[in-house]
C-alpha cells in the first residue's frame, strides 16, 4: 500500500478530470450576429447565443455597445425569439471616435456576454466625441457560478484540452524515461533495463497515437469547421506541432524496425539503446526548434512554444493540471505493468 499511493492518486485525479471536466457547463456567450456592419439602413441585428437564457431572463436583460475609446451607444432588445435568439435595435450615431464596437448583452442568470468587431459604417470616424456615460437602460451583471470559458468555434470541445494536451506531456515524460533506461542499460548491461526501455517506447507510441487521434478530431471540428463531416479534408492540417509529432512517431517506429533487424539479442539491445538516446535528443530538438521556425495554428505559437502563453483561465487550470499529473502517472503505471510482463516472458524464454 505504501508503494502504491501514486496509483490511487492517478485514479482519483483521472476520475476528477472525467467528472469535473465533462460535467462543468460552458459559460453562456454570443455565437453569431446577422451582420457585423451597422449603418443607418441596417440597425436591426439578429443575435444568436450559446447556452443563453434570453427568454427566461427577459426582465433583467439589457443591451449596449461600447468601443475602446470608452464611447457608449445605446440599444434595446426589440424582440426575444427564443432562449438563444433575439433581435437588437441599435441607436445609430453619426459621430464616433472609433468605428469598432463591442456588443454587450447582460442578464442576471448569464452575466455579461460580448461580441466584438461590430463596425459602424458611414459614421464620421475620429470625430471628437466626449465619452458618454453608460446608457441608462443597461445593467451589467456578472456571473459567479463555476463554468469553463466560452470560446467562439471551440464551444464544448474546449474540454478536449484535458485529454489531448496531457497525452503529449505524458508521452514526453515516458520517452525521457525510456532514454534514461537506455543510458542505464549501456552503463550496467542488465537486459532488464533494455526491456523497460523498450516497453516505455511502446507506451509512448500508444500515447502518441492517442494524441494524434484526439488532435485530429479537435482540428476537424474547430480549425476546419467549414469542411463537410464526411470529407477527408480537415482531419489533418498543416501545423508544426502536428508535423513534429508525426515525425516523432516515425523516429520511434524506426526504433522497432532497428531492433527487429538485428538477430543477436545483446547487440540489438545495445545498438537500439544508442539509437534511443540519439533519437530522444533529436526529438527534443524537434519539439523545441520546429515550432520556433514556423508559426502555427496552436495557441501561444507566434514563435514560442512556451506553456505560459496558452490562453488558460483559472477554471480550466483547476482541471488541466490534475489531468496532466493523472495521465503521466497512469502511463507510468501502464509502463510498469507492461515491462513486468515483458520481463517474465523474457525469463521464461531464455532462463529455463
Amino acid at each position: 500500500m505504501q508503494n502504491n499511493w501514486w496509483k490511487i492518486l492517478a485514479c482519483i485525479l483521472l476520475i476528477y478530470t472525467l467528472i469535473v471536466g465533462l460535467s462543468t457547463p460552458i459559460e453562456p456567450g454570443l455565437k453569431s450576429v446577422s451582420s457585423l456592419i451597422i449603418s443607418p439602413e441596417n440597425t436591426s441585428i439578429h443575435v444568436e447565443g450559446y447556452n443563453t437564457h434570453f427568454l427566461d431572463q427577459k426582465e433583467s436583460q439589457s443591451v449596449t455597445l461600447r468601443n475602446d475609446s470608452g464611447q457608449w451607444v445605446c440599444a434595446e432588445i426589440s424582440k426575444v425569439i427564443s432562449n438563444t435568439e433575439l433581435l437588437v435595435e441599435i441607436d445609430y450615431t453619426p459621430k464616433v471616435s472609433q468605428a469598432m464596437f463591442r456588443l454587450f448583452i447582460s442578464n442576471s442568470l448569464d452575466g455579461t456576454m460580448e461580441y466584438s468587431d461590430m463596425n459602424f459604417k458611414g459614421a464620421e470616424v475620429n470625430a471628437f466625441i466626449r465619452a458618454n456615460s453608460a446608457c441608462s437602460n443597461f445593467t451589467g451583471y456578472s456571473k459567479d457560478t463555476f463554468a469553463f470559458p466560452y470560446v467562439r468555434n471551440l464551444y464544448e470541445s474546449i474540454r478536449n484540452l484535458f485529454f489531448h494536451v496531457p497525452m503529449w506531456f505524458a508521452m514526453i515524460v515516458i520517452m525521457l524515461l525510456s532514454a534514461i533506461y537506455g543510458i542505464l542499460y549501456l552503463a550496467k548491461g542488465e537486459i532488464k533495463r533494455d526491456i523497460q526501455s523498450e516497453t516505455a517506447i511502446s507506451v509512448g507510441l500508444l500515447l502518441a497515437f492517442l494524441g494524434l487521434a484526439t488532435g485530429s478530431v479537435w482540428a476537424k471540428f474547430t480549425w476546419s469547421e467549414h469542411t463537410a463531416i464526411w470529407s477527408l479534408q480537415g482531419w489533418w492540417v498543416d501545423d508544426p506541432k502536428l508535423n513534429g509529432s508525426a515525425i516523432a512517431t516515425l523516429i520511434y517506429c524506426a526504433y522497432y524496425v532497428l531492433k527487429r533487424s538485428i538477430n543477436d539479442k545483446i547487440s540489438a539491445a545495445r545498438i537500439a539503446a544508442v539509437y534511443n538516446i540519439f533519437a530522444f535528443v533529436m526529438f527534443f530538438v524537434l519539439i523545441m526548434i520546429y515550432p520556433r521556425i514556423q508559426g502555427g495554428l496552436h495557441p501561444g505559437m507566434e514563435n514560442n512554444p512556451a506553456f505560459s502563453s496558452y490562453d488558460l483561465n483559472n477554471n480550466l487550470r483547476l482541471v488541466f493540471y490534475p489531468a496532466i499529473i493523472g495521465f503521466i502517472l497512469l502511463s507510468i503505471w501502464i509502463w510498469q505493468i507492461r515491462s513486468r510482463i515483458a520481463w517474465l516472458k523474457y525469463k521464461r524464454e531464455y532462463e529455463d
Partner: protein, 219 residues
C-alpha cells in the same frame, strides 16, 4: 592526432584508388541536377530553388555517408586493435565532412550553372556559401552516426533511410530556413538565430556521437 590524420588520409587514398565511390557520387549529383534542370525548364522561383538544392544535397549525403562503415566490417578486428573507437569516429566524421563540403560546393556550382543563376549574387553569395558549408557539416556529422548504427544491421541502405530521414528533419528545416533567409538578402543580424541553432545541433550531435559510438563499435 596523427592517427586521425593518417586515417583520413587512408580514406582518401582508398577512395581515390578505387574511384567508384567518388565517381558514383559525382555522377549522382550531376545527373540529378540535370534531371531537375530538364524537368523544371527554368520555371523556378527562389524558395523552390533553395529547397531543391537541399533535397538533392540530402540525397547525395545519404549516398555518400551510407558507405562509411560498411567496408570496415571485414577488417573490424584489425581496426579494433589499431585505433580507439573515438578516434575512428572522428576520422570518419572528418572525412565525411570534407566529402560533403566538396559535394555541397559542387552541387551549388551545378545549380548555378544548370538551374538558375538569378538568385545568387555577389551580395549574398558568401553568406549562402556559409549556410551550405554549415549544412554540409551537419549532414555529415549526423549521417556518420546513423550510418554507424545502420551498418550493424543486415539491411544497410534501407535502414539508413528509415533511421536517417526522421532524425535529420529538424536540422534540415533549420538549414533550409537559414539559407532561404540569406538568399533573399537578410544579413546575419536577422538570420543569426538559425546559424546558432544549426551550430548548436552540430555540436550536440558531435558530442553525443563521441560518447555513444564506443557502444556500437564494441562487439
Amino acid at each position: 592526432m596523427t592517427e586521425i590524420a593518417h586515417f583520413v588520409k587512408k580514406e582518401f587514398q582508398l577512395d581515390w584508388r578505387n574511384r567508384t565511390l567518388i565517381g558514383s557520387i559525382l555522377l549522382y549529383v550531376i545527373s540529378s541536377i540535370y534531371v531537375t534542370h530538364l524537368a523544371f525548364q527554368n520555371a523556378i522561383d527562389l524558395p523552390t530553388w533553395n529547397s531543391l538544392f537541399w533535397i538533392i544535397t540530402l540525397f547525395t549525403a545519404f549516398n555518400a555517408s551510407s558507405k562509411s562503415f560498411s567496408q570496415e566490417e571485414r577488417k573490424f578486428l584489425y581496426l579494433y586493435m589499431l585505433i580507439s573507437p573515438q578516434k575512428l569516429l572522428i576520422s570518419k566524421m572528418l572525412y565525411n565532412i570534407l566529402l560533403m563540403l566538396i559535394i555541397g560546393s559542387l552541387s551549388l556550382f551545378g545549380f548555378y550553372l544548370f538551374i538558375s543563376n538569378e538568385f545568387l549574387s555577389t551580395d549574398n553569395f558568401w553568406l549562402y556559401y556559409l549556410s551550405v558549408s554549415l549544412g554540409a557539416i551537419g549532414l555529415a556529422v549526423i549521417l556518420t552516426m546513423i550510418s554507424a548504427i545502420a551498418s550493424k544491421t543486415g539491411n544497410q541502405t534501407g535502414m539508413m533511410a528509415i533511421l536517417g530521414f526522421p532524425v535529420i528533419i529538424p536540422f534540415l528545416l533549420a538549414t533550409i530556413k537559414f539559407s532561404g533567409e540569406t538568399l533573399i538578402g537578410k544579413g546575419l543580424h536577422l538570420s543569426g538565430s538559425y546559424l546558432l541553432m544549426m551550430s548548436a545541433i552540430i555540436v550536440m550531435v558531435g558530442l553525443l556521437s563521441y560518447l555513444l559510438f564506443p557502444y556500437i563499435w564494441r562487439e
